[in-house]
């Protein structure tokens, strides 16, 4: 039975597949898929020399603090950071009083609700609170930034490239794709998935004045905020690698011992 029906079933699927193949091939030859503007003009993120690259990489606290300053003074106007709590900022090197002050002075207050009266109110944030939600009424939907560097391929490089990537739409693009003109209210950016992003260029040279005296070039700012957002997405990165080395080291020793034990046991059996 199996030997009778097996080949028949096999041939059935094979013929159906070759039929699909033939139809697809004819179509591909008759109407070859034209390259799209995105395929031709989209750019992969540029390499960046982050301190946390590589298996030994670590965050640089001053850079994380600078990145936080950018988030605080620029990004936070439109983007939330809801997975992160103010208390987490201690990992950036702020002391307890500084964390308390950052939380207390955060412009968007925590919402309260009085269950006795039913009144909604506000209070200052505390270190235990997460960064409050941000409501944005303009064009586009600014994504929450907590996980942005893990939610994009090559996330840290992507963020840094995108922030530096605003340019005029290339003439070659408009010549080849006259319909692909960046719509009103959007901005051309070759690092963005569909080339046209709603976010206006958020950073320029000297968009902020760094408290540690670092010169605030666009590149510096972009990389600083990318580093900060790498920390928000993966706050346990350093602990993870540190644990990894201990585990791999232990396993190397254990595996060598296991190999010797195996050799010993099998000495007379080969």
């Amino acid at each position: 039975m199996v030997r009778l029906f097996g080949p028949l079933v096999g041939l059935f699927f094979a013929v159906a597949l070759l039929w699909s193949f033939g139809v697809g091939l004819v179509q591909a030859i008759r109407e070859p898929e034209a390259a799209t503007a995105i395929q031709l003009f989209h750019k992969a993120p540029e390499e960046a020399d982050f301190s946390f690259n590589g298996v030994f990489g670590k965050f640089e606290r001053p850079q994380l603090q600078r990145g936080f300053q950018i988030y605080q003074q620029v990004c936070a106007n439109c983007h939330s950071l809801k997975q992160v709590a103010f208390r987490d900022l201690a990992a950036l090197g702020y002391n307890e009083a500084e964390v308390k002050a950052i939380a207390k002075n955060w412009p968007t207050k925590a919402k309260t609700f009085d269950p006795k009266t039913g009144d909604a109110g506000e209070r200052a944030n505390t270190p235990a609170d997460h960064f409050p939600p941000v409501y944005y009424a303009g064009t586009g939907n600014p994504p929450d930034l907590s996980l942005i560097t893990k939610a994009r391929h090559e996330g840290p490089e992507y963020v840094a490239s995108l922030l530096q990537g605003y340019t005029e739409q290339p003439a070659a693009l408009l010549k080849q794709f006259p319909d692909a003109k960046t719509p009103e209210g959007l901005h051309y950016n070759p690092y963005f998935a569909n080339l046209n992003i709603a976010m206006p260029p958020p950073l320029t040279d000297d968009a902020v004045t760094y408290s540690d005296g670092t010169k605030a070039t666009l590149k510096q700012e972009s990389e600083d905020v990318a580093a900060f957002l790498t920390w928000t997405a993966e706050p346990k990165l350093e602990k993870r690698r540190q644990t990894g080395w201990a585990v791999v080291g232990f396993l190397l020793v254990a595996t060598v011992l296991a190999y010797l034990a195996k050799k010993n046991v099998w000495a007379n059996a080969h």
Binding site: F13, G244, A258, W266
Partner: protein, 429 residues
Amino acid sequence: MSFPWAKEYNPSQPFMVWLDEKLPLPRFVYNAIGAGYPVPRNLNYMWNFGILAGFALVLQIVTGVILAMHYAANAGVAFDSVEHIMRDVNWGWALRYAHANGASAFFVVVYTHIFRGFFYSSYKAPREMIWLLGVVIFLLMMATAFMGYVLPWGQMSFWGAKVITGLFSAIPLIGEPLQQWLLGGFAPDNAALNRFFSLHFLLPFVILGVIILHVWALHIPGSSNPTGVEVKTESDTVPFHPYYTAKDGFGLGLFLLIYFAVVFFAPNALGHPDNYIAANPLSTPAHIVPEWYFWPFYAILRAFTADFFFIPAKLMGVLAMFSAILVWFFLPWLDTSPVRSGHYRPLFRKFFYLIVIDVLVLGYCGGSPAETKYVLISQIGATYYFLHFLVILPIVSSIEKPAPLPFSITESVLGKDEGAVLTANPAAA
């Protein structure tokens, strides 16, 4: 069952004697994976992967049960509860990365285990039942992994669930109501998430049960071996313990090294970035792709692009995708060659390497966007896939002239077997 020369469990300690009379559990273990189980002496490292698969399952159950203590299966908070695990639960990040990559590790070892079975024809009599149960385990694993991937409730979770449950809607007449019944709604939502969580917790224990049957069935004929020649005498075997416990211990060390290197240094390499975006039914990702271990089957699903007579392309794709695995159930009866091991089957061996390459190519296409070139390659790859198992294998096994087999396992290991000389050439004795 066992070979007549299997060592018998013989406790000397009074407590163990007492226990053996009341509940012979130590005897059971001794006969299963102890010195009481004689195993062919020539097993190579490909025979490590069954133990590794069992280890991976235990790892998944242990990490999974702890993760379930902190996870909330509610569409409103599931995504945030996973981030809570990553940030606020002690060692939660390690548990979650171990679990997510543990699924990949489980599939890596199981695929190796399955292809070991293909090469050495481990499915042949008297081991058909072991093979059939193995395919059942694989199907259960796929269901479990799919539902597990939905739980973080990211974009790929949601859209993956939508695409895969959408497959049921291809079934004529009952398809759509069936899909709605499975999901508990018109699209994946809280009802689906809750039942997936429940089943994701249950199925690993079902897998554990089938593994017990799988190992039980294994112990009836005993393990196969790289020559495919059955065990004849005691000199063909060694006791499982200490020989294979030692060998498996070394294999386990290598496995853990690679696994933990991924967990601690590249934990997101095998995942999709879109799953770090919370599920959004109003925003479809540019490319919906499943996890890598489904890619070959996903390529087969997408390979059917034209209706075949009165059968819609979508239904053909669904039928083919399920058939691609179901065909493995029939392998013991499709491959009729009396020789088991690929080492002695020159023609079969060529086709074996071809199917390995074919599955890798299908996998690559399944993970790529559905562009014309990848679809065309998948169509050729899928054609070969079905022809390989259902047409080529039966033909090869009937026309092939196998290479001469060694007389026994002992001969293959030592180069000579005293018994072989006596039996093969009595005149010389």
